[in-house]
Symmetry: C2
Subunit: 314 residues, 2 copies
């Protein structure tokens, strides 16, 4: 699979270059995150595996490739995530405004950049479930006909059941102080099905259940911010990326829940939400090529800054 | 396991430096082959896996590390082996003598360096089983009390049964033209047990069985040389490394079988047999660091020369 995914990645690179009329020779470097197969930073001997062989990407495209960014941070005792914190800092830090970058993928993660702060001031963490539980419940309710709540319409038609949310907020992850990361192992299908069963036990309609899971995502994000972002230095602008940016219920509820913060799609900054993660790893690859560290110990818990990734010649 | 083996490798590096009073700062670069977990170059989508996380080695030792040498050659359509051919060329090629380098590990492999030849003239291949089948049979016969035939003493006390060897030489691998590689998948425990069963069917004594397997290793090496080394340009000196060099029966029989060739331990060249593979990967890492290719398409079947390995910062 490692070679096969490498070929797919190389094909994707060639396709996008051809589609946009960009000659290969214009591309100096590829940064490839790879497909995560597992990620267990908390074992005594940690392990993580991202596949998509960079030697294949480099050979097939003819472009030097840097890949496998997480292991160096983990070798230094970090969680190997979130790595987007430093690119977020480079792209979005502001001398006047405190900026937040919220990516709502399967898991939601946030980077907070205090106004006029150095990279040491950056904090970043996973806040908890993003779309993962919502998607699982929508898929279950619709027998797989719908894979996600399009634009948050189902949630908008339902009513969240706050007592259940209050119960779920007792999950120990939400009490951990950052740096903290989580994943499918904690907030995956099993937990989603337990939540759905609880909703049904409370006789919630399908859309009420979806609204309740949606509200869980919103409130865990808001909870993180209230717990870990100093009140005296609140987030002025929170740019949202990831699939969750298309969920209008999530976006509207975040705006309501985060008083004093402008919650906007990251696209408003000029960076496409769909491209933000890819841009982050291009930046990390560029940093590594220039011998610059890419992790932030304040975000990952590593003992030191590290030059990330493995360099592979074409 | 990938991280764990990485820690063990790092400990080994630190131990050997300390033992020899060499400061870490004297070491510019580590070349780490890694522990091969699987190697299937012949699948439609090839795969290979060497573990021992280089990010861990680099972090723990503070020394830049290059690892994972085989994938680049395989990305270029090669078998990812033998990679020792180019280091053998750099270390041993001779303007007057045709040199052979024979490593008898689990599998036996040979590099042939024609007198005054360029690296294009180098051929290299696995010849077939090395110690793998002998060791398996000794272990089986002694219920695990002996793991190998020490100094070839058991083989020396037995008599090889040539009809069985002739039968085994019909194995299709021995008819393949180089480049060719093999491994435990082909000549491992299963085959060894089949050979032992055949020996017992012919009422061979234990030592006769071991002598027969030992002679198989010798004759497959001799067969390869007679098939693929031009008669007009025979090997003048064949340097032997790997565990097999300590098997006096193998060494004596090779000297008898290869008329006109001086069969000697590679130690006679000034390079320790035990260190030869390690030296080879140090050379490959050094070549990669300087942007020089390390594979030989004539040895691996790759479509082109490639800079091997993945560079990891400490």
């Amino acid at each position: 699979m490692n070679f096969y995914i490498g070929y797919l990645f190389a094909e994707a690179v060639k396709h996008i270059l051809q589609k946009n009329g960009i000659p290969t020779s214009d591309i100096d470097l590829i940064g490839s995150h790879g497909q995560t197969i597992h990620h267990y930073p908390f074992l005594i001997i940690p392990c993580t595996l991202q596949i998509g062989e960079p030697a294949v990407i480099a050979h097939e495209t003819g472009i030097p490739t840097i890949a496998d960014f997480r292991v160096a941070d983990m070798a230094a005792g970090g969680q190997g995530a979130p790595l987007v914190a430093y690119p977020d800092y480079l792209l979005f830090h502001d001398s006047v405004k405190t900026m937040g970058l919220l990516n709502i993928g399967g898991i939601a993660n946030i980077t907070v950049l205090p106004a006029n702060g150095s990279f040491d001031s950056v904090s970043a963490a996973d806040t908890g479930p993003g779309n993962m539980c919502i998607d699982a419940v929508v898929s279950e309710i619709t027998d797989g006909r719908e894979r996600y709540d399009q634009a948050g319409q189902r949630a908008a038609q339902g009513t969240p059941h706050q007592p259940l949310i209050d119960e779920w907020l007792n999950h120990p992850f939400f009490q951990l102080t950052p740096p903290k990361t989580t994943g499918r192992e904690m907030f995956g299908h099993t937990l989603a099905m337990e939540c759905l069963a609880a909703c049904r036990k409370h006789s919630l309609s399908d859309n009420d259940s979806i609204a309740t899971l949606t509200e869980l995502t919103v409130q865990t994000i808001a909870l993180y911010i209230s717990q870990f972002v100093p009140e005296k230095n609140p987030i002025d602008t929170l740019y949202v990326s990831g699939g969750g940016v298309h969920n209008q219920t999530v976006m509207q509820r975040l705006n309501e829940a985060l008083v004093g913060t402008a919650v906007e799609p990251v696209d408003n900054s000029g960076i496409s939400a769909d491209a933000k993660e890819a841009i982050a790893f291009a930046i990390l690859a560029n940093e590594s090529l220039h011998g610059q560290a890419g992790n932030l110990p304040s975000a990952t818990g590593a003992s030191m800054r590290k030059i990330l990734g493995k360099f592979v010649c074409p």
